[in-house]
Amino acid sequence: MSQHDRLPIVQDAAEGCEAAAPPSRRDFLRTAAAGAVIAAVSGCKPDAVVEELQRRHLTELSKDRLQEMLGKLEKKWSAEYGKDVKVGLRPPMPGVNFAYGLDLSRCIGCRRCVYACVKENNQSRKNPQIQWIRVLQMDKERGVSLEHATPYYNPEKVPEPGHFYMPVQCQQCRHPPCTKVCPVKATWKEPDGIVVIDYDWCIGCRCCTAACPYGARKFNWAEPKLPAAEMNPVTDYLGNRPRPMGVVEKCTFCLQRTRTGRYPACVEICPVGARKFGNLLDPESEIRQVMDRKRVFVFKEELATEPQFYYFYAT
């Protein structure tokens, strides 16, 4: 099929253009000039563009504006997915700083965490396939060596003899290089340790993807494909709500769950209990127990990102 055949669709199928409310006249005039330019580029109708232009950074939005915005999203997605979609914007809990522990001697490489994460967090299933957790298969002979690691292992049964497994996801760095490079402050670290992204502010430049040493950030190379039947309707604006095309996403420690006191989906599903999670500021928490009793280490410690994600060997 030649590209000419597909061209006419371009102008018509500009999705998302219809959803916008008509702007007031004054608002329109204020942004009309810039809007016209972008509309010319985008082939979008000007009202949607104006709405996009009037959007301010999350930190500059009033409470009312936020509520209005979340309400609109709930309505839009409830209609789109045919279920009662909730979009929260839950603030971090005071006195909480989350950390994660991963027991490399237990992990069997079954990837149940990967699939549970995809389901919980509404990741695109195929074209583009997005997975926030990458499980690397490594050789026992070589130890942790990225040069000899592969995520593409598909045997009948895991674990395979001679191999061990190292799951990698966002390490919620204390000094996150990803937020530093973002040109528009679309991503930042929250007081409970979680690094979040405002998917509606991200410009898709992928500086953060280049800067992240852990391959944690995934880009929506095409319109994400999220089957309505499988859509998880309990969402958070900065977490697992549906994402648009052209923006970056990554693991958020399931903030829509953990900020209400639940475990991340990957911790819950792990059949061998390799995944631990908890509040660093609570001496009784699971993660503190691990740190007290085992010796933990962080991945790529030489880069001084100081992850809030610890690996350990329990046995």
Binding site: E52, P128, P151, V184, I203, A210, L303
Partner: protein, 413 residues
């Protein structure tokens, strides 16, 4: 009033030209159409139309961007030798250099735009409607300095040409400080662009202090290569006089710059191969390939061969004086640096990726089309600007009643 008439005169001049001019413009417009078709495809389906993926998340577009920043910087830097060696058509060199910078910058900004996942959110990076991440983010700085540099060049060029159009000399108090300022600014834009890469600890191939000096050195090769060819075309087709010595001096300077560039390259290669740490992989991917993954190897060696040959041509006086070898050298140096600074810089930085995976990137058809379009656009900007500027500089395009003395002739400084 006067400005309006100037713009009208300029617009008339844009569509004025011989057969060759019109044919060339048609070619450029054709290239832009190809680019638009490619971009429409990318707009519809997303960046999946490119061959970039999460493993190699920046590629051909960003490589072209980086290369063109160098062209934009170096074109203006030619002002320095023009002053030092008292080249006769110094104002012409300034004006042409700035015109080249303007077109290169247009291309740079367009390459960034086509690489963005959400070009509709462009305003987010602007102070005012957006929220630029100063001082942390190098890209937010880069966007700022590139735009300022574009303004700077536009202001100077428009001022000089506007004055000349009306038969007046330019305002020295205004132009000289701006031109002087554009010299460190030219170094600045390229340094910030180098820092965009060099600041990333996650990518050992880029994370080196040597990157910024290397960028400047290679820019001094690619920018002047365009100027050398342009000078020759202009003195054939117009009345502008550019002395042989000036052109050959540029070639000589390029030889020194290329020597420095090759020296830095050698220093890096030594460090990587001798210390043989895990960081060697990226360099190895470029020069030898890793296992069966060898996509970049031919490009790397071709680029090196171009650069070395051009260096040898330009460093020998006979090579510089012979027009054939000189032009071959200019093309070689341009190609050598284009590969080195584009694919040779960006791709090995991301191959293998941060988790050790090797994804072999090659530009997709869409990427080629879009790139052709952007170059067509830059070429069109440059061609039309030169087509307007030259007759003004020569005194043949003037406001009614203005003096028609050529620009270089009215002052003796």
């Amino acid at each position: 009033m006067g400005i309006l008439e100037f713009l009208k005169g300029a617009a008339r001049q844009v569509v004025t030209g011989g057969k060759a001019y019109k044919a060339w413009v048609a070619v450029l417009v054709g290239m832009m159409v190809i680019g638009l078709v490619g971009y429409a495809n990318q707009w519809q389906g997303g960046l999946i139309a490119t061959n970039m993926r999460d493993q190699v998340t920046w590629a051909f577009y960003i490589g072209n961007f980086t290369f063109l920043v160098g062209v934009a910087a170096a074109a203006v830097l030619l002002v320095v030798p023009a002053y030092v060696y008292h080249w006769k058509p110094i104002k012409e060199v300034v004006v042409l250099g700035e015109l080249l910078a303007i077109s290169a910058l247009t291309m740079c900004l367009t390459f960034i735009l086509v690489d963005m996942g959400r070009p509709d959110r462009l305003t987010h990076i602007m102070p005012g409607p957006g929220n630029p991440n100063w001082p942390d983010s190098m890209l937010s700085w880069d966007a700022l300095v590139l735009n300022l540099y574009l303004m700077l060049n536009l202001v100077v060029v428009v001022h000089i040409l506007y004055r000349a159009y009306r038969g007046q000399d330019y305002a020295k108090w205004f132009v000289v400080p701006l031109v002087l300022f554009s010299i460190p600014a030219a170094v600045g834009i390229h340094t910030v662009t180098a820092f965009l890469y060099a600041g990333m600890a996650a990518r050992p191939y880029w994370n080196a202090g040597i990157l910024a000096p290397k960028f400047i050195a290679s820019a001094f090769c690619s920018g002047p290569a365009v100027m050398i060819i342009l000078f020759q075309i202009l003195r054939k087709t117009t009345a502008i006089e550019i002395k042989d010595e000036a052109i050959q001096k540029v070639a000589e300077l390029m030889a020194y710059a290329m020597f420095f560039n090759l020296f830095l390259l050698g220093a890096e290669i030594f460090k990587e191969y001798y210390s043989h740490t895990e960081h060697l992989l990226y360099t190895q991917y470029l020069w030898q390939g890793i296992g069966t993954h060898k996509a970049l190897v031919p490009y790397a060696w071709f680029s090196l061969a171009c650069s070395v040959t051009a260096f040898l041509i330009f460093v020998t006086p006979a090579g510089r004086k012979n027009w054939t070898t000189l032009n071959i050298g200019a093309v070689l140096i341009f190609s050598g640096v284009y590969i080195e600074k584009g694919m040779g810089l960006v791709i090995p930085g991301m191959t293998p990726d941060t988790l050790g995976e090797i994804y072999e990137y090659q530009p997709s058809a869409t990427e080629w089309m879009v790139a052709v379009g952007v170059f067509g656009m830059g070429g069109l900007v440059f061609t039309t600007l030169v087509n307007v500027a030259v007759p003004i500089m020569m005194g043949t395009l003037r406001a009614k009643g203005a003096s028609t003395v050529p620009m270089g002739a009215e002052a003796t400084h």
